[in-house]
């Protein structure tokens, strides 16, 4: 399955403040959530959904479970991901921020070796407007359509979704891959998925300073993506050597700067904008 398919969902950390709040939002956005997990709280209910103490208990009760959304605290996130992979669940979205990068690396390797799709950590998750949402993106600013938004930043995806919705341009998926240095799903992984999705007709990619994942994405686009791609890199005004809010947003080498990335992507045929307003006006 892919993130576009309607999933059967488990929420890990459902009894926590954020877990409970966003479970409600996901259900209201049409998501088929069937259960939650919080260790030691099996037998309780949250918004009428049964809570289990372990993922394997939940999976036994609901064999159709194929997706988990993780809200557990950073210190427990690695074990939560291992538990869900071991239970045979196919897709995981980790919302939790502040996860040590060594744990993120382990989560990525563990999921990859078990053929499990991992989105995040430290991300807003995704929404397929009109179908389902996995995470915390506000559904009321989105509308169904054929434009895919892929971004490292959460709030910029909201801003774009809202602007597109107001212009009458609907979205096939809005996906925040997260601001950490080592994400599960990369831009390339996400591009592969939206290129294969028949609903999607154009793609918006929002990158930022730090790393060279946007360049890898540009190489991939030039070779494998037939759909038009509009790009924006934020952080042009950021001096080198400082972290800008996201753990991964720091210019170490010249190639990690916003201007170097913008130029590289432009050369690969991607329609680049200098600012968010410019990007919105071009769509």
């Amino acid at each position: 399955m892919t993130l576009f398919d309607k999933p059967t969902v488990l929420v890990q950390g459902i009894t926590g403040h954020h877990g409970a709040f966003h479970t409600k939002g996901m259900v209201e956005a049409g998501t088929n959530i069937v259960a939650g997990v919080t260790p030691g709280k099996g037998g309780q209910e949250v918004h009428g959904l049964p809570v289990f103490s372990s993922v394997s208990d939940a999976k036994s009760a609901f064999p159709d479970l194929n997706t988990s959304v993780v809200f557990v605290p950073a210190a427990f996130a690695k074990n939560a991901v291992v538990e869900v992979v071991d239970a045979g669940i196919e897709q995981i979205v980790v919302i939790t921020e502040g996860i040590p990068v060594h744990d993120a690396l382990f989560m990525h390797e563990y999921c990859t070796s078990h053929d499990v799709t991992l989105v995040g950590p430290n991300c807003p998750g995704l929404i397929v407007p009109g179908s389902h949402k996995l995470g915390i993106i506000a559904a009321h600013i989105t509308s169904p359509g054929s434009t895919a938004i892929i971004s490292r930043s959460g709030t910029l995806t909201y801003e774009l979704a809202d602007a597109l919705t107001k212009k009458g341009i609907g979205q096939s998926i809005i996906l925040g891959i997260g601001g950490d240095p080592v994400p599960g799903m990369s831009f390339v992984d996400a591009l592969k998925m939206v290129e294969a999705n028949t609903q999607t007709e154009q793609i918006i990619m929002v990158g930022e300073i730090g790393g060279t994942t946007e360049q890898l994405a540009a190489d991939y686009i030039a070779e494998h993506v037939s759909k038009p791609v509009h790009g924006l890199i934020v952080g042009h005004a950021a001096p080198a050597g400082q972290t800008f809010g996201h753990a991964g947003a720091i210019v170490g080498t010249d190639s990690e700067s916003a201007s170097a990335k913008t130029e590289y992507l432009r050369q690969k045929g991607i329609q680049m904008s200098a600012t968010l307003d410019e990007l919105i006006s071009q769509l």
């Binding site: 921020e97 753990a247 170490g252």
Partner: protein, 392 residues
């Protein structure tokens, strides 16, 4: 977090990596005894370029030492004044090598970097630095470095153990010295620790938590936005319009009155700020909460410079009503905010002195003593990371 050299070496010692004999001193009146001469006195500042700046001095006699210590302690290097000096036995090595472990974010793996030509010339020898996968280290590192496997193997084991046990993102040994008896010693060490691991690394020398202060950028237009991407995008839009942002600040979602007030107060303290732009898109957070913060700030901060406010998203209508009732206008979009902020800043002269002083120490990039792994490995997409916040 970047560790100071002596902190990095303590960590290495805990895991059995060989470092020179050393003594840490905080003033010239308490010099330990015995010391062995000649030695090297090294300023303990968290930035590179210490040698060039006069922060690393050879000392041949005990008599000369107090004056050198006083000089180093009084020497400001890139805005940092050391609180200690590391006295180290001077190594008479035959060769200077380069060896590092780093987390390669784009390849999503931990890897070795190695070069037989380490020391201060590594920058010009960047092409000599080879990238080696962890699993291939034992087989290929001895030949790349030109050292004996028996000497290297316990060192690489200790470095990898340090890297994993202490949640490091970068561990750079430059130079790694091969002594005449073929043994290896870590003469300098640069360590970058993952800030997200703070909760499980309680013994490391973490700084006091200082909240989320605005990052000064030296311009005239203060900025408050929610979300790191939004805050960067706001800065970029200001620059594209010909302005200069005074700061970067992501106040995050669900910000209350108190946090908003603190943010405004901190931006007002930056020199040269002539106005502040508030750029908020409320997805899960609510515009009316922000509006209440703005109204409270107007009442309680009499010296508040002009605010130019753009609010979109959840409960915008309520927010506009609240602000209108309080006599505060709201701009239709960010472009208008910037236009008005530019007009306001024309009156105030620009203070450019802030920019350099505020730059967080990246250390190695300008460092002649311990060359930057990022520079050395630029060709294969090297990176440099620290971290603070949320990607949401």
């Amino acid at each position: 977090m970047n560790l100071l050299e002596h902190q990095a070496k303590s960590l290495l010692t805990e895991h059995g990596a060989p470092v020179p004999r050393s003594w840490l001193v905080r003033d010239s009146s308490t010099i330990p005894d015995p010391l062995s001469f000649p030695l090297v006195a090294k300023s303990q500042v968290p930035v590179g370029g210490r040698g060039k700046a006069g922060g690393i001095v050879n000392v041949d006699t005990r008599e000369a030492l107090p004056m050198v210590i006083d000089q180093i302690l009084a020497l400001d290097i890139k805005g940092h004044r050391p609180s200690s000096v590391l006295l180290e036995e001077k190594l008479e090595g035959s060769r200077e090598l380069y060896l590092a472990l780093r987390l390669n974010r784009d390849a999503r793996r931990i890897e070795w970097l190695a070069s037989p030509s380490g020391g201060i010339d590594i920058e010009t020898n960047a092409s000599s630095v080879e990238t080696v996968a962890l699993d291939d280290g034992a087989a290929t590192l001895p030949s790349i470095l030109g050292v004996e496997e028996a000497a290297l193997s316990p060192l690489t084991k200790a470095l990898l153990e340090t890297f994993k046990a202490s949640d490091l993102m970068l561990l750079e040994i430059n130079p790694l010295i091969e002594l005449s008896d073929k043994s290896l010693v870590c003469a300098d060490a640069k360590i970058l620790v993952d800030d997200n691991a703070r909760f499980r690394q309680p013994t490391l020398p973490w700084p006091e938590v200082s909240g989320n202060p605005p990052k000064p950028l030296g311009g005239t237009i203060g900025c408050i936005a929610n979300g790191a991407g939004m805050a960067m995008s706001t800065m970029d839009t200001i620059v594209a319009a010909g302005g200069k942002p005074a700061n970067f600040l992501d106040i995050g979602g669900g910000t209350g009155e108190k946090e908003f007030m603190t943010a405004l107060r901190q931006i007002m303290e930056l020199p040269g700020v002539s106005s502040i732009i508030v750029n908020i898109f409320a997805g899960i957070s609510r515009c009316d909460e922000i509006a209440r913060g703005i109204i409270a700030a107007r009442e309680q901060l009499p010296a508040l410079p002009p605010l130019f406010i753009r609010l979109e998203g959840t409960n915008r209508d309520i927010a506009v009503q609240l602000l209108t009732d309080a006599g505060i206008t709201i701009e239709p979009n960010l472009a208008t905010c910037i236009q008005k902020a530019l007009q306001a800043s024309q009156a105030a002269p620009l203070d450019t002195s802030v920019e350099e002083a505020s730059v967080f120490p990246t250390g190695a990039r300008q460092d002649n003593q311990s060359i930057s792994v990022e520079r050395a490995s630029e060709m294969d997409g090297g990176e440099k990371m620290t971290n603070t916040g949320s990607g949401r």
